[in-house]
């Protein structure tokens, strides 16, 4: 019994050490990114390696934003995010609700059609999509960036599954009281789906905020670039100022990381949920 117990504590200690060590590896690049943004250019890749900045450089953030476009890129990313999310939540909730709660001709066809778009992510159709957007004269416009990023077959699926679990009696009762369909949707269905909508928003906002390919292709003018494009294409005239580039990277990550720290349960539960439902 005694031997068994010591064995178990030793095992537990080793487990903790291994988990903590890998945890450090998982965190390290992010920490290095933050520390690097406070170094001077010569210290970022210097030998011998210095983890902490030998001299702290607090100007890199100011420089990155003062360099003009970066503030603009940030603003563009926020604009794209907000509008893409609004369109995404509206389309996913309405169509998910319609597909789950109404019986009409062609419903299954519509559902299959939307599900089939899971097989065509933006990477697959980037060329014809660009052709379409340019025919619509939407290249180098916010609408051109936003609309393709706001559609998500998976989001529709998620909301449809959610509304499917809402009991029909709840809606039937309101119908008997003479409430209109849109009124029922707004006053009953939306309020009870808050948690699902938060999960959808967290899920989709990461997609929009992190997307590089589409804004890279469709916004060729500097003043329409998003953060991700700005970070990827950032370089100086004669050399790349690393601390500024890292400062941009940190600034791009910070909003999601802060959100994650406060809402980590939603992030993790949302992921687990997409797993179970998907």
């Amino acid at each position: 019994m005694n031997i068994y117990r010591t064995k178990k504590t030793v095992g537990t200690i080793i487990l903790h050490l291994v988990v903590a060590f890998i945890g450090l590896i998982m965190l390290f690049p992010f920490i290095w990114m933050i520390l690097g943004s406070f170094k001077y250019n010569k210290d970022v890749l210097s030998i011998p390696v210095n983890l902490l900045p030998p001299e702290w450089n607090f100007a890199s953030y100011k420089n990155a934003f003062a360099a003009g476009p970066f503030g603009r890129y940030y603003l563009n990313s926020v604009i794209v995010l907000v509008f893409a999310l609004v369109i995404n939540v509206v389309t996913c909730t309405t169509s998910g609700y319609g597909l789950a709660k109404f019986k009409f001709k062609g419903r299954d066809f519509f559902f299959t059609l939307i599900l089939s778009t899971l097989m065509i992510p933006i990477q697959t159709i980037v060329v014809p999509l660009f052709v379409l957007i340019s025919k619509m004269k939407l290249v180098n416009t916010y609408a051109g960036i936003i609309i393709p990023l706001s559609l998500s077959g998976f989001g529709v699926f998620l909301m449809r599954q959610f509304f499917y679990s809402v009991p029909d009696e709840l809606l039937e009762a309101a119908r008997i009281d003479g409430a209109g369909e849109f009124y029922i949707f707004r006053k009953i269905s939306i309020p009870i789906s808050t948690v699902a909508i938060i999960s959808l928003t967290i899920f989709h906002s990461q997609y929009v905020w992190k997307n590089l390919l589409w804004p890279l292709v469709v916004a060729t003018k500097t003043n329409l670039r998003t953060l991700t494009v700005g970070i990827s294409l950032f370089s100086g005239v004669f050399f790349t100022p690393y601390p500024e580039q890292l400062a941009m990277s940190v600034s791009a990550c910070i909003p999601i990381v802060v959100l994650f720290i406060f809402l980590s349960k939603y992030f993790i539960r949302g992921t687990a949920m997409t797993g179970i439902k998907g």
């Binding site: 095992g11 537990t12 988990v19 945890g23 998982m26 965190l27 690049p29 992010f30 290095w32 990114m33 690097g36 970022v44 890749l45 030998i47 011998p48 983890l51 389309t91 309405t94 169509s95 609700y97 597909l99 109404f102 009409f104 419903r107 519509f110 059609l113 939307i114 778009t117 097989m119 990477q123 697959t124 159709i125 980037v126 060329v127 014809p128 999509l129 660009f130 052709v131 379409l132 393709p148 559609l151 077959g153 529709v156 369909e181 949707f185 992190k210 390919l213 292709v217 970070i231 941009m248 990550c253 990381v257 959100l259 980590s264 992030f267 993790i268 992921t271 687990a272 797993g275 179970i276």
Partner: protein, 290 residues
């Protein structure tokens, strides 16, 4: 009568979204078949070339190499992801681990970071004087690794980053699966004297089969479409060693303005994905039969 009007309301909820999906996703997909029959640089009028793009594509060594590379990248990354995220899940769901939630959150952090920012950071860390070489490999092993300079290694370096950014995500899926296994199964196995490994292979892994399949399906789709990592870390280099199909399509369409040719490549990209899905559907239906 009532029933009828109630059903019709369904169209108002569904049709606007369906139209958006048709215009911006399904129509472009179909249109890529038409575009693949033309030679077109966007500025000049389109020129009909029939199946020439397909002929060129099959003889294009760059394309074939990029196709094979994408398969290699996807399959290797996915297998590694399955193993690593499953091991992470076993460790972080363990009863004997304290502050499990904190550790799970830490392992999840790379998932939420912005991909191009991650690419920039790893690109710097991979340099000869970067932290990996100058901080770890040179002092401990006395040699540096040409992470991004070697054509044989660069693709694996990007796989490493892919693994780093997504293992936390799939770990969470596995943890959800682990928590769905009833405790009694393990208890009776312990009473029967089953070792930890025995329990792992006779209870945990068989019961998690649906989760393994799910992780496989989702990660294949995700990794197959990877663009931002190779674009920011290596720009497809050195000598195209990390040029995945997404980069090939991007380069041909938007650098060389070969719209028709890039559409043809997109069709193959799409067909490869379809084949992947058919294999996956097979795996799923096999599961059901048992």
């Amino acid at each position: 009568m009532k029933k009828n009007s109630h059903s019709r309301a369904g169209y108002f909820f569904v049709v606007p979204t369906v139209i958006l999906f048709c215009v911006f996703l399904i129509f472009p997909m179909l249109n890529s078949f038409r575009l693949s029959l033309y030679s077109w640089n966007i500025m000049e009028p389109m020129k009909w070339v029939g199946l020439d793009n397909f002929k060129t594509l099959f003889q294009d060594k760059e394309f074939l190499a990029s196709w094979g590379r994408t398969l290699q990248f996807t399959l290797t990354s996915v297998v590694l992801l399955l193993i690593v995220s499953f091991i992470f899940a076993l460790m972080l769901d363990s009863r004997s681990l304290k502050s499990r939630n904190l550790f799970q959150a830490v392992y999840f952090i790379p998932v939420v970071l912005v991909t191009p920012a991650v690419g920039v950071v790893w690109k710097l860390m991979f340099q000869t004087t970067g932290i990996l070489n100058a901080g770890i490999f040179a002092p401990i092993f006395g040699a540096t690794v040409p992470w991004l300079e070697s054509q044989n290694i660069a693709l694996y370096s990007i796989m490493l980053v892919q693994l780093w950014i997504s293992s936390g995500y799939y770990m969470v899926m596995f943890i959800a699966g682990l928590q769905g296994i009833p405790e009694e199964y393990y208890e009776s196995a312990v009473i029967d004297g089953a070792s930890w490994f025995r329990r792992l292979f006779s209870i945990t892994i068989p019961l998690l089969k649906p989760v393994f399949l799910l992780v496989f399906v989702t990660s294949v789709l995700f990794v197959f479409g990877q663009f931002a990592l190779p674009y920011t870390i290596s720009q497809g280099g050195p000598n195209y060693a990390t040029e995945l199909m997404t980069l090939f399509i991007y380069r041909n369409a938007f650098k060389y303005l070969k719209v028709g040719y890039a559409s043809t490549a997109s069709i193959f990209y799409f067909l490869t994905m379809i084949v992947f899905s058919i294999i996956q559907i097979r795996l799923f239906s096999d599961k059901k039969k048992r």
